[in-house]
Every structure is written in C-alpha cells, then in structure tokens.
C-alpha cells in the first residue's frame, strides 16, 4: 500500500505541477511531517542571483523561519530551469517540489502550519490584497530596473545572470531573458514608463505599506504572517543590494517604520542562525551596513 502511494506520488510529480496535481498531493501528504532534509533551491549566491530572485528567495526563507520549519538553502546555477514553474525559489520536501511563495504557503498549510489562521475574513482579504500590491508594484519595479534600464542591465544584470555559462551561451541566455522580460513589461503597460516614474511607483508602494504598518510591530499586530515575510524579503534586499544608483534604497529609507520593521524581523528570525545565511549573499553587493 505505501509503495502504491509512493509510486503514484512520483508519477504525479513527474507529470508536472498544477493545482489539480497539487491537491492530489495534499491529500496524501498531509499526514507526513516536515522532514529534516527539506531543501530550498536558488541561484548561486555570490555571482549569479539577481535582485528580484533574491527578494523572492528571502521571503520564502523568512516565512519558513517564522513557521519554525528547518530548511537547507542549496545554491545551483540552473535552479531556474529545475523549478517546475520556471521561477525561483522552489522547495524540495520529501518527494514534492513546490515553487513560489503562494503555492509554498498553501503547501505548508496543508501540513498543518499556518500563520494566518487567526485573522478574520476582512483581514485575510487585506493581507491578500497587500501581497498582490507587493507583487504588482515592487516586484515589477525590480524587474524593470534590472532588465529595462540599459545601464543596470549592461553593468550588473547581464553579467551576473550569465556568469555560470561560457561564451557564447552566456550572451544568448542573457539577451533571451532580457527580451522576454521586456515583452512582459510591454504587455502590462510598463514599457512606456521612465525610470523616474518607476521610482515614483516604488515610493507610492512603500508609502502604502508604511501607512498600513503604522506603529505596529507586524502588519497584523502581534504575529507575523506571510505578508510580513514577503515585505521583508523585498525591502531587505532592496536596502542591502548595491545597484548603479542608490535611488531605490533611498526611496525605502524615507520610511523609518519600514526600516525598523526589517531590523526587527532580521533580529528575531535570522540572528540566531549564523548571519551568513543572508548577509553573505549580499556582502559582495552591499555597501556596508544598511542600518547606517
């Protein structure tokens, strides 16, 4: 009987991810506890990983730490291609592979860990809306700055993205990815924006987050939720990554409650572990401590 289950699970796993396969998984995996050897895959820390990918990865790591679930961060040059949806990070738990924060949160909920159970309906609606705000504005702005601003793309993004590959593959992959991102920007109407307008959007988004946070320790008062993890991932990465100009970081630094929010999460959830887990990934990039 367990062999049948295992066989079914592996077959379904190789059939590719989707919500229908996913709910099949949930039914069978709900009983299994969180294994010790769970792994989170992301691109190479020092040379390859980009701002947007690092933000997403940090968000997932923060969420797992908030749930007290141990995970090992594994860096692979081809993490993007290994991922079932093409986006990083993804986690490998038992014999299941789940990528992106949304599905990972659902997956962990099926295993019995959830941070947002205590919220009422209206609060849940607000949480989902603010998570979409971060995805819609912050993540898109990060992608825009990385790939559509020619300066940044030439000096930072393309060299980093293609660093594991040899000539001529590095040029081909870098330009292909850039073309794809630019097409997406055009489809959603961001192609006509100037860099200043994008910075303005980031500023508006930070203002909205700052107003929602107010003077509370976390977005929904006492306990952190997935929204806190997501916001932390993006803001901390923006603050500690050096790009061609400092303007992105400056936009965030205008809001002191966001700065203290990041500091608080870093101290509570990342300091007990070795500091290497997040700071080494940004050490080559950061211009000293962001607390200054």
């Amino acid at each position: 009987m367990p062999n049948c289950l295992f066989l079914c699970a592996t077959l379904v796993h190789y059939a590719g991810p989707s919500y229908s396969n996913y709910t099949f998984h949930l039914f069978h995996s709900a009983a299994e506890p969180w294994p010790e050897n769970a792994a989170l895959y992301q691109p190479l820390k020092d040379d390859q990983i980009l701002l947007s990918d690092h933000a997403s990865s940090l968000a997932v790591q923060a969420y797992l730490r908030m749930c007290n679930l141990p995970v090992q961060v594994v860096c692979r040059a081809n993490a993007e291609y290994m991922s079932p949806s093409g986006k990083v990070p993804f986690i490998h738990v038992g014999n299941q592979v789940v990528s992106e924060l949304g599905p990972i949160v659902q997956f962990i909920k099926a295993k019995g860990h959830s941070l947002s159970d205590g919220l009422d309906e209206v609060q849940k609606a607000e949480m989902k809306a603010y998570m979409e705000l971060v995805n819609n504005m912050l993540l898109t702005a990060e992608l825009y700055i990385q790939w559509c601003d020619e300066n940044t793309a030439k000096e930072i993004t393309r060299p980093r993205f293609s660093s594991p590959y040899t000539w001529p593959l590095n040029h081909v992959l870098a330009y292909q990815k850039q073309w794809e991102v630019r097409r997406k920007m055009k489809a959603i109407g961001w192609a006509g924006k100037t860099l200043d307008q994008v910075y303005e959007d980031v500023s508006q988004c930070c203002q909205a987050l700052s107003q929602r946070l107010g003077t509370q320790p976390y977005f929904f008062n006492k306990q952190p939720t997935e929204l806190d993890a997501l916001v932390f991932g993006h803001l901390f990465t923006i603050l500690t990554t050096q790009l061609t100009s400092d303007e992105l970081g400056e936009k965030v630094k205008n809001y002191s409650n966001l700065l203290s929010f990041c500091r608080r999460i870093e101290q509570n959830y990342f300091e007990d572990h070795d500091k290497d887990s997040i700071t080494s990934s940004t050490s080559r990039l950061s211009k000293g401590s962001f607390l200054m």
Binding site: S18, E121, V122, K124, A125, E126, A129, N135, I188, A208
Partner: protein
C-alpha cells in the same frame, strides 16, 4: 475653468455605458468626481487621438490613454474622488487595485477573449459588427492575439487551451478575488463608506461587463451572481450614475432579435450595396458584349432611317427584320 476635457471611449451595449473595462473605469471615476467630460462614444479606435481607447484629450498635456494616467490627470485638475479618504484607506485602494489586476483581470481576459465559445459568439461578433469597414476584419483578430500574448506572458508561457488546468487556475484565483471583494464590501454602499472613490471605479469597471454581458459559457458570471452584494453594488452604480445609458439598453436590444444577424443600422447600406453590385455586374456584361463585338450598334444613314430602324445584328443569329427593308 479650462476648456472641457474630451474623452473618447468604446460605445455601450447591454445596458452599459461602454463595453470596455478601462473605459467604464474612467467614465465611473469622472461621474464620481463630478468632472465635466465631453464623451465621444465611438467604435473605431483609430479615430481616437492616441490610437487606442479610452483616450482623454486635454488642452495642455496632449492625449493620455491609460486609465491610471487619466485618473491622475483628473485629480490634478481638482476632480478628486479620493479627497475624503484617510491615509490607510488610500493604501488599501492601491492594494485592492493590485489585487484586481493580478487575480481578476487575467480571468476576465480569458473569459472574453480566449474561451472559444464566448469569443466567437459574443466578443468577436460585437466588435466585428460595430467597428466600421474595413477595420472590422482586422482589429478583432489583433485584439484577440494581444489578449493571448498578455495572458501567456503574465502566466509564464503555460498552455492556454480552453478547458485545461490554466483555465481552472485562472478561474480559481478569480473566484477567490471576487469573494474577497465581497467580504471587504460587506453591507456598505461603497467600499469606503457612503461616497464612491477610485477603488469603486476600478471594481465597477471590471465587474460590470461580467455582470451584464450575456456570455454563453461562463462560470465566472455564475459565481458573481451568487455574490449578492456585488451584484447590488454594480446595479446601484448603474442606476445612480448611468441611468440614461441604462435606458438605451432595452431599446437597442429590441431590433436585434427581429433582424437576427444583420444590424438595423446596416440595412440601407445593404440595399445600396446590393443595387450597386447589380449595376456593376450589368455594366460589365454590356461592356464586354460591346467590346468583343457580340453586340454592335451601327450608325445608319439618315435617309435609311426614315424607312425604319435596323435591329442590331447579333452574330450567329438570323434576324428576320431585314426582310422589313
């Protein structure tokens, strides 16, 4: 105040002031903020100042086309529907607009443009009937491929065949989004109390087409109808702010079942086209007959003509009239 602003937008149908979500959003915001707009309802995007609809023509800043930019411009002109909102409500507005764009809009694009039954029977038919010749052959297909591209890029290249998992995922996200909106609205009249704001304009713009357009194949529509407070909310806005357009709805619907297929407006053109084509065909036949000599008219001498007319000679035909000579 400066000259009134002119807004170009898609015309309306099915009781709506406009069939396009973006146009509805801008129209609703203008009504909420009390902005005096001169509205041109057209069905030809190439006649708008920017080449796409909606488009706002301003006197100083040129023409703007995205609803977001149009609303910002109206706000700058002191037509601000968000004036009374607190800072937190302003932040909530941004967040819920992002929620709409990420979760609900892809499903709407799918339902109207990608689902084959809906696209062929409703969307393409409406656009093909209303866009003037010859654009009606070209534009609907172009809008269709734009919609497909956008969905494919946003969903990350997953397969978009109707009926498969991508559709289920899209619809599931949309159901969740609508349920969340319904919970946030609760029993209030508008999202932030008794007066409408820009968030109401965006929500109305997306939900109203879904509520009113008769789609043959639509689970999204059924889900929306099950959320009573959202249905009342949309009808409320239509009744309060768009009652003259709403009364056009039944009047326009009356001719269509009678004519089934051909639009009432196209009737005179159809007759004229038929008449013209018959005339052209006759002219072509007669011209061919003369040119090849099948038919020839011979000029007769004036004094011969006194004896009677000579019938035109038909090649290969014995004409008995010559006896009459």
């Amino acid at each position: 105040m400066s000259a009134p602003l002119e807004l170009y937008c898609w015309k309306g149908e099915w009781g709506l002031p406009s069939v396009d979500s973006d146009c509805l959003t801008v129209l609703a915001y203008a009504k909420f903020a009390g902005a005096p707009l001169k509205v041109h309802k057209i069905a030809n995007p190439w006649r708008s100042p920017t080449g796409s609809l909606p488009a706002l023509k301003t006197s100083e800043d040129g023409s703007l086309s995205q609803p977001h930019k149009i609303i910002i411009h109206l706000r700058k002109q002191k037509y601000n529907a968000d004036y009374d909102l607190s800072a937190k409500e302003g932040a909530d507005t941004l967040a819920f607009i992002s929620l709409l764009e990420e979760k609900l809009l892809p499903a709407l694009i799918y339902a109207f443009w990608v689902d084959s039954k809906n696209y062929v029977e409703v969307t393409r038919r409406w656009y093909a009937e209303n866009i003037p010749f010859p654009l009606n052959f070209y534009l609907p297909t172009r809008m269709h491929s734009n919609a497909l591209d956008r969905l494919r890029l946003v969903r990350g290249d997953s397969g978009l065949e109707p009926g498969d998992e991508a559709e289920k995922e899209l619809y599931r996200d949309a159901y969740e989004c609508m349920t969340l909106l319904s919970q946030r609205l609760g029993t209030q009249k508008f999202f932030f109390g008794d007066f409408p704001s820009s968030l109401d304009a965006y929500v109305f713009g997306q939900l109203a087409p879904l509520l009113k357009v008769k789609l043959p194949n639509c689970k999204l529509q059924q889900h929306l109808k099950s959320l009573d407070n959202l249905c009342h909310y949309c009808s409320n806005i239509l009744d309060l702010y768009f009652q003259n357009e709403a009364s056009d709805g039944p009047a326009r619907k009356a001719p269509t079942p009678r004519d089934d297929g051909s639009d009432f407006d196209n009737e005179p053109h159809k007759r004229r086209n038929q008449f013209l084509s018959v005339l052209v065909a006759l002219g072509a036949m007669v011209g061919y007959a003369f040119l090849t000599g099948i038919v020839s008219i011979q000029r007769s001498n004036p004094h011969n003509a006194l004896h009677g007319r000579r019938a035109p000679q038909l090649a290969g035909d014995e004409v008995d009239d010559e006896d009459g000579e």
